[in-house]
């Protein structure tokens, strides 16, 4: 059942993004940035973790999850180390995604040639 709710929710996020792209002049960069901020906001009002709990892990896949994770690790940092903890722990949970994207891409770019 959670497979189905993952399907609906992730699909819905992509659906909204596509509608925004086709009806405004925004580029995909604008939309992903907007969605990261929206994800942080959903984490702020406490919806995002509830949705992951109820509707499956699929919601960790879209870029909104990135904002939610950044918000959560900043909050955990504040709770454990005060004001500077927010800066110390900001990238703790998203580190795996960012660093794997950087390192794998770099290795790939050494091997592959650009296609035109």
């Amino acid at each position: 059942m959670k497979i189905f709710s993952s399907f609906i929710l992730v699909g819905l996020i992509c659906f909204i993004a596509s509608i925004i792209y086709d009806t405004t002049k925004w580029t995909s960069g604008h939309i992903t940035s907007l969605f990261v901020v929206v994800g942080a906001f959903l984490g702020f009002i406490g919806i995002y973790d509830y949705l992951i709990e109820k509707c499956g892990y699929g919601l960790s896949l879209p870029i909104t999850s990135f904002g939610n994770q950044l918000y959560k690790s900043a909050l955990n940092g504040i709770h454990s180390n005060g004001f500077f903890g927010a800066f110390k722990d900001l990238y703790v949970t998203t580190s795996l995604g960012i660093s794997s994207a950087i390192i794998l891409s770099f290795l790939m770019s050494l091997v592959c040639k650009p296609k035109d």
Binding site: C14, L70, L104
Partner: protein
Amino acid sequence: MDKEEYLKLVKKNNKEKNIIKNALISFLVGGFLGSIFHILTSLIISYCSVSKEFACGISLFIFILVAVVLTGIGVFDKLVSKYKFGLIIPITGFAHSIASSLLEYKKDGLITGLGANMFKLAGAVILYGSVAGVIFALLKVIIYG
């Protein structure tokens, strides 16, 4: 302007008609990836006995790896133009933006090419995610203590 470019322009002007079709394609592809992600994470949790967050991280790693490899062999660009936001909004889009800018600027050398242009597209996501994350976390602490 060659024929292919011209066709692309025509396609761009006709895109108003395709709003619903594009959105539905994005819905189906994004939803499909979401359910695959759920299945993969559940499998990792049940077979490797790791925490939920770490299992999600491993699945993200696998998705990023696939996206980067597909970008490297030149398939991902075609898939993106076909399935659009079904592939851009998931983490695959983030990985693709880094991988494709690395490939594109490879000819400019290791430092001024790769190093300087790596985050051309993904930088916006990291910048606004970080700013929003810290601001919302501070707000939460200020409001709720």
